[in-house]
């Protein structure tokens, strides 16, 4: 009856892939395995190589070195029109001279599918994105969100084993974006197609993805689930790019399996030590930190840094504080509903357990890229 479009998702294997434009290295020796049916997000700031990777998979650009396999077959030299991959573009790329129906029918016509069969599949694809009533409209008569849904239907109507999306929601406003994120997630669940999604919005990546590959400067910094990236970032860049964080820097002493950092005149103890000779920094997540009044009874083993509240924001679900530490670092703290309230100017202690901090090698580029 109205069975959803279904296709076995294709696996992608990228090994040692590089892409150079003259002297500029857009992609530097990346490895990336995507499992069949997986929702993989390529996340990173602009110019980090995520779109280049997408273009390589789509066949819009050629790989400079390395290998790329889709569904177990090398696609090197295969032009994009023979790859059978659905692509959704940020700018929709609907053909302005064709109606919505014609746009969606286009890839079917190219594949020699005509008549009733084609009509049925167009209808099914438009139903899936809830745009069936608009089949006779022209793209310029639709809103941005509607156009993007049509683009999605067009990219999926020929049952590609793989769907690529390049910041598809980038041009839409926040409400619409959040709604469409859920739609995309639902469609992914229904189809079983492999989705590769490019975005610079980390929240969007967390909402949508099975796994996320974080790109920076033409390299992949880390691949993992949202939880892995948030709780155990492999690099300072990943830690700062995903979610909110406070980075502490100071003089470091290593004794046994403990690392002690001195910030102004206060000491912070961390378990473990960094391998290699890199300078360590401490990354704190706002929810893993509590604010306490300076006199409060210390919990055993707890780290405490004193400071003053510089900003207090009531969020409904709790409060967010910015605390100026003695060395002028701003620490971000999120208190759950029901925790003690503080006002701007209050003297406070920022308290956290050694298990709740992350020790990472310092990386100056992590700061620069974010601004």
């Amino acid at each position: 009856m109205n069975a959803p479009l279904r296709s076995a998702g294709a696996a992608i294997e990228i090994r040692k892939a590089s892409k150079r434009y003259g002297a500029f290295v857009a992609l530097n020796d990346i490895d990336l395995s995507i499992r069949p049916g997986e929702f993989m997000t390529l996340l990173g700031p602009s110019g980090s190589g995520k779109t280049t990777t997408l273009n390589l998979i789509a066949g819009f650009t050629d790989i400079s070195s390395g290998t790329l396999e889709i569904g177990g077959k090398s696609v090197t030299g295969l032009p994009s029109h023979k790859r059978n991959i659905g692509v959704v573009f940020q700018h929709y790329a609907l053909f302005p001279h064709m109606t919505v129906g014609k746009n969606v029918a286009y890839p079917l016509t190219l594949r020699g599918i005509n008549g009733d069969d084609r009509e049925k599949r167009v209808k099914r694809a438009l139903d899936m994105v809830k745009m069936a009533d608009f089949a006779h409209r022209y793209p310029n008569e639709l809103s941005g969100g509607q156009q993007q849904r049509v683009a999605l239907a067009r990219a999926l109507v020929f049952d590609p084993p793989l769907l690529l999306m390049d910041e598809p929601l980038g041009a839409l406003d926040k409400k619409l974006r959040e709604w469409l994120q859920l739609e995309i997630k639902r469609i992914h669940r229904e189809l079983g197609t492999t989705f590769v999604y490019v975005t610079h919005d980390q929240e969007e990546a967390l909402v949508l993805s099975d796994r996320i590959a974080v790109f920076n400067g033409g390299r992949i910094e880390q691949i993992g689930t949202g939880r892995e990236l948030y709780d155990n970032p492999a690099t300072l860049f990943v830690g700062r790019f995903i979610g909110e964080s406070t980075v502490l820097r100071g003089a470091v002493e290593v004794s046994g399996d403990k690392t002690v950092m001195t910030i102004a005149d206060e000491k912070v103890v961390a378990h473990g030590r960094l391998a290699g000779g890199a300078r360590p920094v401490i990354l704190l997540r706002p929810e893993r930190v509590a604010l306490k009044r300076p006199g409060a009874e210390p919990v055993s083993g707890e780290n405490r840094l004193s400071g003053t509240v510089a900003e207090a924001i009531y969020l409904g679900s709790g409060s967010k504080y910015e605390v100026r530490l003695k060395d002028s670092t701003i620490a971000i703290v999120r208190s759950p509903l029901g925790a003690a309230d503080f006002a701007i100017g209050d003297a406070v202690d920022v308290a956290f357990m050694p298990a709740d901090l992350t020790l990472l090698p310092d990386d100056a580029s992590a700061d620069v890229t974010l601004t």
């Binding site: 994009s80 029109h81 991959i85 692509v87 790329a93 001279h97 190219l110 022209y138």
Partner: protein, 299 residues
């Protein structure tokens, strides 16, 4: 970006700082600015054309005699037909030359594009009469083309005072009018649409034919109609390059009025030419309007 004055502006802002009746006065005032131009056109365009039409019905005697004469004469009908055939040829040849050229202009680098644009504009900088003279030199029996043909051992071709000669000369003169509108439209086509078509499974040539070409049509229509209409009324080039067997309607009009002093008959021919031009424009105007904008506004 481009703000269309009357639409892009919130009405409240347009009238800011002045009473509402003033801004309304201002809008009406704007139309008055065109009055001098309209006057010039009334005196130097509308009135003369009215005289032409009037004389075609009244000179030498009131009635339709001049038109009856025009359409009864086999020679006149042949000239009328020839005028349309030549215009059609010039349009087709121009289109064939212009389409790839305009496309090339959109895909080459900045410097090469500048060179290609200069090649289109240079003909405009050479006086029209002088340009036609150049074609006389090129096409004449002892001209460049025939010297070349003799040089490579081929028989000479009669070009001057023949229809092909007229078509070649007119094509060169009118080619920029074909290239520029096509280029303008092509420049606005979002080439990412071609990428999208390929991702959906279209071979490059198929994407070009099914996506790019339909989107470039408004430019093609505009170019064709401009070239065709200008060809219909062309006078100098056919007069200098053509011979008695390739005479076009404009020359016939000139001959009736200046040599035979027959204002009525000349006027009738002129009216036929005028009517043909405006009928064509009326037919073509809707085609040139871009129904579905090929260029995309950012959302």
């Amino acid at each position: 970006m481009t703000a269309t004055p009357d639409q892009g502006l919130p009405t409240g802002l347009a009238g800011a700082g002045q009473p509402a009746f003033l801004s309304r006065f201002r809008l009406r005032g704007a139309v008055w600015l065109a009055v001098p131009a309209v006057l010039v056109l009334l005196v130097a365009l509308a009135y003369p054309l009215a005289i032409v039409v009037l004389r075609s019905f009244t000179d030498p005697a009131p009635g339709l005699d001049n038109y009856v004469w025009f359409f009864q004469s086999a020679v006149n009908r042949a000239v009328l037909q020839r005028t349309f055939v030549v215009a059609a040829w010039v349009t087709v040849v121009s289109l064939i030359c212009a389409y790839p050229y305009a496309y090339a202009m959109t895909i080459v680098g900045k410097n090469l594009r500048l060179a290609l644009i200069l090649c289109v504009l240079v003909p405009f900088w050479l006086s029209g009469v002088v340009r036609t003279l150049a074609w006389v030199i090129l096409l004449q029996d002892s001209g460049v083309i025939n010297s070349f043909l003799r040089g490579v051992g081929l028989p000479p071709v009669k070009l001057i005072r023949t229809l092909p000669g007229v078509v070649i000369g007119m094509t060169q003169v009118l080619l920029p009018f074909m290239i520029l509108p096509i280029y303008t439209v092509m420049k606005g086509i979002d080439t990412r649409l071609l990428q999208a078509a390929r991702s959906l499974g279209a071979k490059p040539w198929r994407a070009f034919v099914q996506i790019y070409m339909p989107l470039s049509l408004p430019g093609v229509y505009a170019g064709c109609i401009i070239v065709f209409i200008l060809s219909l009324g062309f006078y100098i080039t056919p007069a200098l390059l053509g011979g008695p067997r390739s005479i076009l309607l404009s020359s016939l009009v000139q001959n009736q009025v200046l040599s035979l002093l027959n204002w009525g008959r000349g006027g009738a021919m002129g009216v036929v030419l005028l009517v043909a031009t405006f009928v064509l424009l009326a037919i073509a105007a809707p085609l040139m309007r871009q129904k579905h904008s090929a260029t995309r506004r950012e959302a």
